[in-house]
Symmetry: C2
Subunit: 160 residues, 2 copies
């Protein structure tokens, strides 16, 4: 969990972050009277293990490996939904993929930067875009519940 960071690359995520994320998830579940079951914990660990967007069926496969048994799609989708609802994971719509949320307690929203070359995804938490959006929503009297901002292009490492 990276409460202060504004930018998150998967390269910078390590075991410590994962452990902190799990701790935070446990805490949040306690607080919201939700159960951080063994199955959910395993899915959560998978979401963080290399901190890249994973498709549901990729998660399914990894879960199956870890537990040594066949896992069916609903099992995976239910766990994902659980975390997305709690704000502990996000769906990247344009990839049909899921990723752990590195700023779970932030009020800010996220921008996903998707590199079309190396396929890496970075996540930015920013106030300025949020403010611009909020202003527009206010003008239009649109009650914002959730926003998805995904940008595609070439990351700094892939462009000379």
């Amino acid at each position: 969990m990276l409460t202060n960071a504004k930018l998150v690359f998967n390269k910078n995520i390590n075991q410590k972050h994962t452990e902190a994320a799990i701790k935070h998830a446990e805490y949040l579940c306690l607080q919201k009277q939700q159960k951080f079951t063994s199955l959910r914990r395993t899915v959560f660990e998978i979401l963080w293990e290399d901190y890249q967007p994973l498709g549901a069926y990729e998660i399914k496969q990894r879960l199956s490996m870890r537990l040594g048994k066949k896992i069916d799609p609903p099992t995976v989708y239910r766990a994902i939904e659980f975390f997305v609802d709690l704000g502990l994971a996000n769906k990247i719509e344009s990839l049909n993929a899921y990723i752990g949320c590195p700023f779970p307690s932030s009020q800010r929203s996220y921008i996903f930067l998707i590199c079309e070359n190396c396929k890496n995804v970075a996540e930015v938490s920013t106030g300025s875009v949020d403010n611009s959006l909020a202003l527009i929503m206010e003008k239009l009297k649109f009650k914002l519940r959730k926003q998805h901002i995904e940008v595609k292009g070439i990351c700094s490492k892939c462009s000379p």
Copy 2:
């Protein structure tokens, strides 16, 4: 086509807009040496006929009705891809749906406002969010190619 408008609701789209959009599509195709074939024209008309996001299979069904014959998925997906590539249509990722682009010649990008109550989608073209985003991209040396901004909530008509 609404070159100056900043906000587009489906209610405000009428036959004239559709005709203008078709004219513009014809022109752009000519310019880019692409063919605005009969099939593509029909798909384009469908995308504009009630100016709401349509799933590929909904388009398939309408196309089938219009042409009085069975249409297979690739036919639809190819036409959609053609228009998306030309910037004449957009995919709304969080809905797996497609919609005609009302600002085809604008350099700006679009924000889709999706009402979770009435399911209507409005489209906003705005500079301020773009500028904020551009600033962030510059800082991160990320070469932006395409952005998807989709917000979900309750529109003004649905909230008292």
